[in-house]
Structure formats: structure tokens, C-alpha cells
């Protein structure tokens, strides 16, 4: 279990499967990536791509019948000790979750308990991990609410979640997640439920907090605009596998997988899709839809929707290979793209 000194998380050939009596859904099937210290890695994909299951595997929150089938999740904790989270039991995770790795979710309302004030909920977690008494915990809670820029934080401590707006609740979630100064934050679509002006505030806040506290962020999203705003590196997932991995600037400059290319092309862009006279060109669209994970084609999972597909693509699944400086692509024809 070796890990580069500047790598905090290394997911290696992770397979998380959901086995039932009749079918096996290979939600995550051989995912590999590294996250560097202090950086943000965005995992992009549509529904069913396996991006959320990947993050739940890392933080040990899979629910049955989902289970890690094979692979390693190497994580470097504060004391520089490297552990394999894929083999960690519930007791081991209790020491890590919240303290070393924290997570924020898409829907801040359902992640907060409606019966407790936000101060109590953040305080509980601080007291639990730091063995502080109530007064100290409350003081630290206030500091956290101020750190996430909640206006009039002192008076908002005793608010219940329903008294806050969606953006404020997401700030509370971030305060709670960062209260114990974790080295890794997993953010699963944290701005998807928010309006654009609020989304911009939350992205700014995450960027600032990352600079101050130095945590690494694994950012799960389907929105390529958000990726461009926040990520250092990007992993694109499709049908449970990584199809492309590249530094953010390179990825947007040139895509080495037809799926990534298609995703970018089908987001409307006035400069490209409107003629000077105002007539619309038809938007590029990827034909068909994401195949069910229980019934994937034998070759490349994207081949049936891919305009570059040749016979070889349908015959055998391609592997993730080098596609130029610091980047990988799971496509037989990546060199032609």
C-alpha cells in the first residue's frame, strides 16, 4: 500500500456491485483515480454513471445489497497513515467519518434533522469528535457558522432548518462537514438544488475554504459549467467506468473521448448554435439514452450511441489508456479525436 506523498486518496480498480437473486448491477466497475492534496477532483457523469456509488463506497455508506466487490481505496489520514477504506469495518469508519473525511449532499433539507436546531446538530458532531463540553462546542459551532459566512450567525445558531433558505442550509451542511477540519471533503452535487446566484455563492465559499483549510475535495456533479469553475482535474464516468481523465483546462480544450465531446457539444451555446441572423442550428445530441447497468453491451458501453464506433468497438471493451500528457481515455480511437 504505497501512496505518493502528495496523494491523499487513491481509488484503484474499485468494483461496487449490487447483487440480487436475479441480477448483478455493476454500478461501479473498475474505477481508478488519484486525488492530490489540496486539490479538487470533479467526477462528472449522468444519472446511472456510478459517480454517487463511487463516493458512497469511499465514505463507507453503501446500503445493501451494494458492496465493494474488489479494489482498493487508499486514504492518507492526518497522521500520514495510509489505510485501505475498502477493507475497513463500521467501527473503523466511525473514527474516520466526519473527522478525516466529511460529505455534503445535494439536498440540504433532508440531510438535516428538522427537530433540532442547527447549532445543536453541528455542536453534537463537534462534541463527539473533539470531546468538548457544551459551551466549548457551541463556541466552535459559532466560529464555523461565521466561517461559512452565515449573516448574523449568533442569532441563527438556534434556528431550526426550516427557518433557513436552501442556500443557508447548504452553508450549515458545509459548516458541519468542515467542523472537524477533515482532510477530504466529498461534495455530491452540492449546488444542484440551488439557484444560479446561490450556486455561485456556494462555489465561491468552497473555493475560499479550500484555500484557508487546505482540504482536498472530491466534487460529484453532472454540470460541466460547475466543473469548469471548481475542478483542478476531471474524471468523466459512463456506465460505471471512467471513460476520460484529464486536467480541467486540457479537458475543455480538447476531449479525448466521444462521450465527453458529446456532453460538451449538447449544452446549448449561443456563440456556436445561433447564426448571426438569429436562426437556430439544430443542437448536437447524443442519440439514445444511458443503457441499463444490468444489461450493458459486450463491447464499449458507449459504442451503441457513439458516432465514431467501428466494428472493433462493439467486439471488446476498451481499456483506459494513455491519451497524451497527464490524460487517459477509454476509447480505441482516442488518438484520432
Amino acid at each position: 500500500m504505497t501512496l505518493d506523498a502528495d496523494t491523499i486518496l487513491s481509488v484503484r480498480n474499485l468494483r461496487t456491485w449490487f447483487r440480487t437473486k436475479y441480477v448483478t448491477a455493476k454500478a461501479v466497475d473498475g474505477v481508478t483515480f488519484d486525488l492530490k492534496r489540496g486539490q479538487t477532483l470533479a467526477v462528472v457523469g449522468e444519472s446511472g454513471s456510478g459517480k454517487s456509488v463511487t463516493s458512497l463506497s469511499i465514505i463507507g455508506l453503501l446500503s445493501r445489497p451494494g458492496a465493494i466487490e474488489s479494489g482498493e481505496i487508499l486514504f492518507r489520514d492526518r497522521s500520514e497513515k495510509v489505510q485501505d477504506l475498502a477493507k475497513l469495518g463500521p467501527r473503523g469508519f466511525r473514527a474516520i467519518r466526519g473527522r478525516e473525511i466529511a460529505m455534503i449532499f445535494q439536498e440540504p433539507m433532508t440531510s438535516l434533522n428538522p427537530l433540532y436546531t442547527v447549532g445543536d446538530q453541528i455542536g453534537e458532531m463537534i462534541a463527539l469528535h473533539n470531546k468538548l463540553d457544551r459551551h466549548e462546542a457551541r463556541k466552535r459551532t459559532l466560529e464555523m457558522l461565521q466561517a461559512v459566512e452565515i449573516p448574523d450567525a449568533k442569532n441563527r445558531l438556534d434556528d431550526y432548518p426550516h427557518q433557513m433558505s436552501g442556500g443557508m442550509r447548504q452553508r450549515v451542511m458545509i459548516a458541519m462537514a468542515l467542523a472537524c477540519n477533515p482532510s477530504l471533503l466529498i461534495a455530491d452535487e452540492p449546488t444542484t438544488a440551488l439557484d444560479v446566484t446561490i450556486q455561485a455563492q456556494i462555489l465561491d465559499l468552497l473555493r475560499r475554504l479550500q484555500e484557508q483549510m487546505g482540504m482536498s475535495i472530491l466534487f460529484i456533479t453532472h454540470n460541466l459549467g460547475v466543473v469548469a469553475e471548481i475542478a483542478h482535474e476531471v474524471v468523466v464516468m459512463y456506465a460505471g467506468q471512467v471513460v476520460e481523465h484529464a486536467p480541467v483546462i486540457d479537458l475543455f480544450a480538447r476531449q479525448k473521448h466521444p462521450y465527453t465531446k458529446g456532453l460538451l457539444a449538447c449544452t446549448p451555446n449561443a456563440a456556436r448554435d445561433l447564426e448571426p441572423g438569429g436562426t437556430r442550428k439544430a443542437l448536437y445530441s447524443i442519440p439514445g439514452s444511458v443503457p441499463p447497468i444490468t444489461n450493458l453491451p459486450p463491447g464499449c458501453a458507449f459504442a451503441p450511441r457513439c458516432e465514431y464506433a467501428i466494428d472493433a468497438c462493439h467486439a471488446m471493451p476498451p481499456s483506459l489508456t494513455d491519451a497524451g500528457a497527464d490524460r487517459l481515455s477509454r476509447c480505441l480511437r482516442s488518438s484520432e479525436l
Binding site: 449573516p151 436552501g166 444560479v196 446566484t197 449561443a270
Partner: protein
Amino acid sequence: MNVPETNRSDALLTVSGLVKRFPARNGRTVHAVEDVSFEIRRGTTVGLVGESGSGKTTAGRTLLRLIEPTEGQAIFDGVDIFALPEKQMRAYRQRMQIIFQDPFSSLNPRMRVEAIIGEALDACNFPKGERRKARIGELLTLVGLQPEHGRRFPHEFSGGQRQRIGIARALAVEPEFVVADEPVSALDVSVQAQVLNLLSDLQQRLGLTLLFIAHDLSVVEYLCDEVVVMYLGRIMERGPARAVYGSPRHPYTKALLATAPVPDPTRKRTRVPLQGDIPSPIDPPSGCVFRTRCPHAIDACAQTVPQAEHIGENHHVACIRQSELAVAS
């Protein structure tokens, strides 16, 4: 009440002074839509944009009288449909349809697709039998599905296909005017483009007039001829899409456009994000409703509700400082 000054004959729908208030607890009132006026010309697409709580969905639904308006007029093809008794309104309902956001909850899971579309045909007394079967097949083909799909149930379809069924149902009665309420926001990105292309294509082929309600600015810019920007129940700015996107004049429009994430990591982030949240529509700010978050607000903004000023062809802005801000920038 402020009536659009150009009551042009090619307007299919002219909305003036639309107000919708809902009673809230303790005798208070939710001001969902306040004094909204705009028009939709025949065969064009108007985009209604705004954040959650801006009143865009309520405005769209009152236009079809799915929610009864509190005040105002909506002249549809020469007739004020807000003044019509329910019985006469029925005839107009055939001419105006809606496509809903969520293709999962807007289709009855226990009905076959042919029955879902058939229900719409019942509403216009379409004869049963072979002719109906052919018509359903025709509608399914129109939206890019196959006639055989009529025998299936909604759960057998993907999200994008379900949205196509919703579109087929709306088009079954051959409407002239369709309200599309966030029709692609529940869909995956790769499927969104398919549905947008379909809507754009159908509009051209059938000569539909569309009111497209959305929060995604790039989608609206692509699809719409004109844009209406709403905030907290009121119109901030409206005009041709090209003008509003190219030279936005209201501070809110500017902020919206500046905060929308752009898929370009090399773009410099110079924006100052809007501070704070959208206030409660139960107790909206006095004067300009945007003033509590506006970087340019002055004392006078709290005094009076700014009226829409005409600043270019069909381009209107409701901001008392719009001309001095235009000079300053």
C-alpha cells in the same frame, strides 16, 4: 396597471397587469405574481426566466387558468380569457396546452401510453376506433417514438422518452399555444438536447406559439425569440433574446448572466456574486423588490415600484437607475 404600448395585431396573447396572490396563514398574503405584462407574438417562443420563487411557474399556470388569476387581463386571440366563464373556457383550453417539468409524475403509471394520449383526445370529442388509433400512432411518430409504443406503460420508457409522451399528449388537441414548464430540467444533459431539438422542430412545423419557462439561461437563449426576466413576482427586464443577453440593462439580469457557470475553465472570474437570498414573497421589499440584493440600490429604490421603461425595440427595463447605469458602464 401598465399595458404594453404596442398592442400589435400579431400578438396571440397579451397579458396585462397579471396579479396572483395566495392567502397565507395569519391573514397574510403571498405575492406570487405582481403586475406582470407582456405579449407573445404568433409563432414565436418567449422564455420566462427567474430563480425559484420568482413566480414564473405561477404566471404560466394562471395564463391557462390552471390557477385562477387574482387580477389582470389575458387577451388570447382577441378574447380576454380571464373573463370567460368556465364553460366557454373549455373551448379555449383545447387551443392552449402545457408540458410539465417532471416526466415521471406527470404520466399516470397505471395507464398505457395510448390511453394517456387518448384521454386528451376524449377532451376534444375525437371519435373512437380505427381513426383514433391512427391518430395516436401519428402523434407518437411526430415526437420521435413508434406507434407500437402506445401499448406500453410509462415505466417502460426513459426520462427523455417520457417527456416525448408528455409532448405528444399536449399536441394531441392541436393547440396553438403551449406552455412548457421546465420541460428539460429533469433530464440528463445528453437527452436534453434531443428534447430541445424536438420542441424547436415541432414549433416550426406546426407553427406553435411557445411560452418556455426555465431557469437555465443558455437553454432559453438558444430556444427563445424574446425573454422575460422575473424576480420575486415582478418583471425586471424583457425584450428580444439577442438584446437582453447581448446588452442586459437590469442589475438583476446582469447578475444572473454573470453567475451562470460557463463550461470554460480559462474564463476569468471577475463576478461579484449576488449577496443574500431571494426575500419571502409574503413580505416583499417595498419599492423595487430586487433592491435588497442590488449592488446599485439607493434610497429612492425603496420608495416606488419602478415602472417598465422602453429602451429599445420591444426592450423594457424596470429600474429607476437604468439610464445612469448604462452611461456608467
